[in-house]
């Protein structure tokens, strides 16, 4: 492919961004946040015109249902039928990893968000892949340092028993040890575990000072509620990555007082971009932006800026423009570092608190860390 097919003067080809993400399946809510963010980001960066040099930006969305093979099919469709200039996605890490090789094959930039697996900008990296979302390592780096310094030195980690849980655990372990702490035990429970008591019993018996809870999606609330019920908090400190609003809501009161890293919550950043985002999101979708809205937004902004900078949608030029690019996003400065194309970005440590008039626990800022502070190690093989 290529962008050598130029249309007439007045009637230029649109710039096509093909999004492969979950519009159904277990993580479809994340997909929605991502797409809303992306569209708003484009709007913001183009000053509302959704055009660059007279070329309309078109966002084409395909549903991968959270399945890798479905994602491959849809990505091929976007690449071959729609001849998209840029790929974007996806809510599931497995899908993103399955699509990344296609980006290489078709020589198109693939802007990853919200998939967080480290391998995407690590072991399985190729030069067409960029990521506006934070990676698991960034979560871990944020949370680990703070936890070692403020919560305790010995850790017990409970995570779901599949690749996501394992690589989260590995990332936390590395960061904790770097900060001088120690992970005494890691326990992996099946994704749809209903009774976590045996695992929590072990946590108590391990005598660790801090319990790390890693759980993406639904089981998290169940786990947290059982933690609460068994009064684990009386025996050890608890930390966990703070999820999206629906996730926090599902905690009920069980999450009160929990501290942990938060990739984004709309009330945390105080800057103009975020203000714009919150206002416009509220206007358009009648709700505040959520966990992955911000990284989707950044993806949009970064792409627009890169295209402007490159002066075209030519892939090589785009890559050159994106590498090292710093954009202003809702959390502040996001920099796509050259080595692995991961966007370094500010991260937050928060504490969940009850607040009048809000129907969920509110993450209250404890500490903000800069992109550099939370930079994960580069694991790309040269």
């Amino acid at each position: 492919g290529g962008s050598n097919e130029t249309g007439g003067k007045d009637n230029k080809n649109p710039i096509k961004i093909g999004v492969v993400t979950s519009r159904s399946g277990a993580v479809e809510a994340y997909g929605t946040q991502e797409i809303n963010g992306l569209k708003l980001g484009i709007k913001y960066a183009t000053g509302g015109t959704e055009e660059i040099n007279g070329r309309k930006i078109q966002v084409l969305v395909e549903d991968d249902a959270g399945k890798a093979d479905e994602g491959i099919k849809k990505a091929r469709k976007l690449l071959e039928e729609e001849k998209v200039d840029i790929l974007q996605g996806s809510a599931s890490s497995a899908v993103a990893q399955a699509i990344a090789p296609l980006a290489e094959e078709y020589k198109k930039v693939f802007m990853v968000d919200p998939a967080a697996a480290d391998e995407i900008t690590g072991k399985n990296f190729n030069k067409y892949v960029f990521r506006s979302a934070r990676s698991l390592s960034q979560d871990a780096a944020t949370g680990a340092k703070y936890a070692v310094e403020n919560l305790g030195k010995t850790f017990f980690h409970i995570a779901p028993d599949y690749v996501f849980g394992k690589s989260s655990a590995a990332a936390w372990k590395e960061s904790i040890e770097k900060s001088g702490g120690k992970v005494i035990q890691e326990e992996f429970a099946p994704v749809n575990t209903q009774d976590f008591t045996p695992y929590l019993q072990k946590a108590i018996q391990s005598k660790a000072e801090v319990l790390i809870i890693t759980w993406a999606g639904a089981g998290g609330a169940t786990l947290l509620k059982q933690v609460n019920e068994l009064k684990i908090a009386e025996k050890m400190k608890i930390t966990s990555v703070i999820p999206d609003i629906a996730g926090i809501k599902s905690f009920g009161d069980a999450g009160v007082g929990m501290q942990g890293p938060a990739p984004y919550y709309h009330a945390l950043p105080q800057n103009d971009v975020n203000k714009w985002l919150v206002e416009n999101h509220q206007k358009e979708f009648n709700s505040p932006p959520d966990l992955f809205t911000s990284s989707g937004f950044v993806a949009g902004v970064a792409l627009v800026q890169a295209i402007k900078k490159a002066g075209s949608t030519d892939t090589d030029k785009l890559i050159a423009a994106l590498e090292g690019l710093t954009v202003k996003g809702p959390k502040g400065d996001y920099t796509f570092r050259k080595e692995d194309h991961q966007a370094l970005q500010p991260m937050y440590i928060v504490k969940l608190e009850k607040k009048q008039g809000v129907d969920h626990l509110v993450p209250v800022l404890v500490k903000e860390l800069s992109g550099q502070d939370t930079a994960p190690p580069v694991t790309v093989k040269k």
Binding site: S24, A68, D69, I72, K73, A94, Q97, K166
Partner: protein, 317 residues
């Protein structure tokens, strides 16, 4: 009767030549992709029909075989980075599936009816779990990306014809099989297992044979799938895969073989079409809803599947 057979043949010839000509009349590479998927899944569906429609076995573990094929190709090629080893990978796949078929079949065939279905489901789940846990080998849910397949298979048009050929070959093989004395025995087993036994047939042996034959075909389909996608993850072993086989067979019509081709076509295209409608109207963001309704409608109004129903009409006329 003879006339019907003749029209039947004409129909098949027309459809076949359309399929052969398709790459020349359509420049849509995506359409070819879809058709390739239809062909490969159709083979997988037909293999299931051998069990369900001809032997009367309801297996909930058919994905086991599909996954065996896909993983054999995926693991061997990606670990060795040696595309030339594809024939070996397929050979290994077939050998593995025979082994798996004999072992699983041997362990579970003494169990009857729904119990058999459930035990096959248990085995498939166990395999699924192993593939999730043994991620150093399988990549778990993240899978094995960019499987290095021989360059020729990356040519979409070439692969299209290969897949078509594969479908035709497997269809002919299975048709032969169901019309052989062996196939006839299987059908009798479907009807009345105990009576077949008292005719002097060793039912267990025949059922095992059916499982292995169907397993080998499903394995080949799985191998083709891995070559086609150049990607494998645990979903090839998931329950959804088995359900796919079931859906294709039933929608097309059990005990018809060719029905699976229709089933595969309906599922693939309905899926694609409905999921792309979300831009038309927001209600289609819930496209699965309509997909579910489609299933229901097909089962309610074509209880014998597409081909089965057409056949019935035909006979009545």
């Amino acid at each position: 009767m003879g006339e019907k057979l003749f029209t039947n043949k004409i129909l098949i010839a027309v459809v076949l030549s359309l399929l052969v000509l398709l790459p020349f009349v359509s420049d849509s590479r995506f359409l070819l992709t879809m058709m390739i998927q239809v062909f490969i899944l159709a083979v997988y569906g037909m293999s299931y029909d051998l069990l369900l429609g001809y032997t009367g076995i309801v297996s909930f573990g058919h994905a086991l075989f599909f996954g065996t094929g896909a993983y054999s190709v995926g693991i061997l090629l990606s670990k060795t980075k040696e595309p030339g080893l594809l024939p070996l990978a397929i050979l290994i796949a077939v050998a593995m599936s025979v082994l798996v078929g004999v072992i699983i079949g041997g362990l579970s065939l003494r169990v009857k009816d729904v119990y058999f279905s459930m035990i096959t489901l248990a085995f498939a789940e166990l395999f699924f779990i192993i593939s999730e846990k043994w991620s150093s080998l399988t990549g778990g849910n993240d899978g094995i990306p960019s499987i290095p397949v021989p360059a020729i298979f990356r040519e979409r048009i070439v692969f299209y014809y290969m897949a078509l050929l594969f479908l035709i070959a497997m269809y002919l093989f299975l048709r032969r099989l169901v019309n052989s004395p062996l196939g006839r025995t299987l059908q009798a087993i479907r009807e009345n297992e105990h009576r077949v036994e008292s005719l002097g047939y060793n039912v267990l042996q025949f059922k095992l044979l059916s499982i292995v034959a169907s397993g080998v075909v499903a394995t080949l389909a799985g191998a083709m799938w891995a070559i086609f996608q150049r990607y494998v993850n645990t979903s090839v072993l998931g329950l959804d895969r088995t359900v796919d086989a079931l859906l294709m067979t039933i929608i097309g019509g059990t005990g018809t073989l060719i029905g699976a081709v229709f089933g595969s076509g309906v599922i693939t295209f309905a899926h694609e079409w409905l999921s792309s409608l979300s831009t038309v109207h927001p209600i289609f963001e819930r496209w699965l809803l309509f997909f579910g309704i489609l299933y229901i409608v097909i089962v309610m109004f074509f209880p014998k599947g597409i081909v089965g129903t057409i056949r019935d009409r035909w006979i009545r006329r």
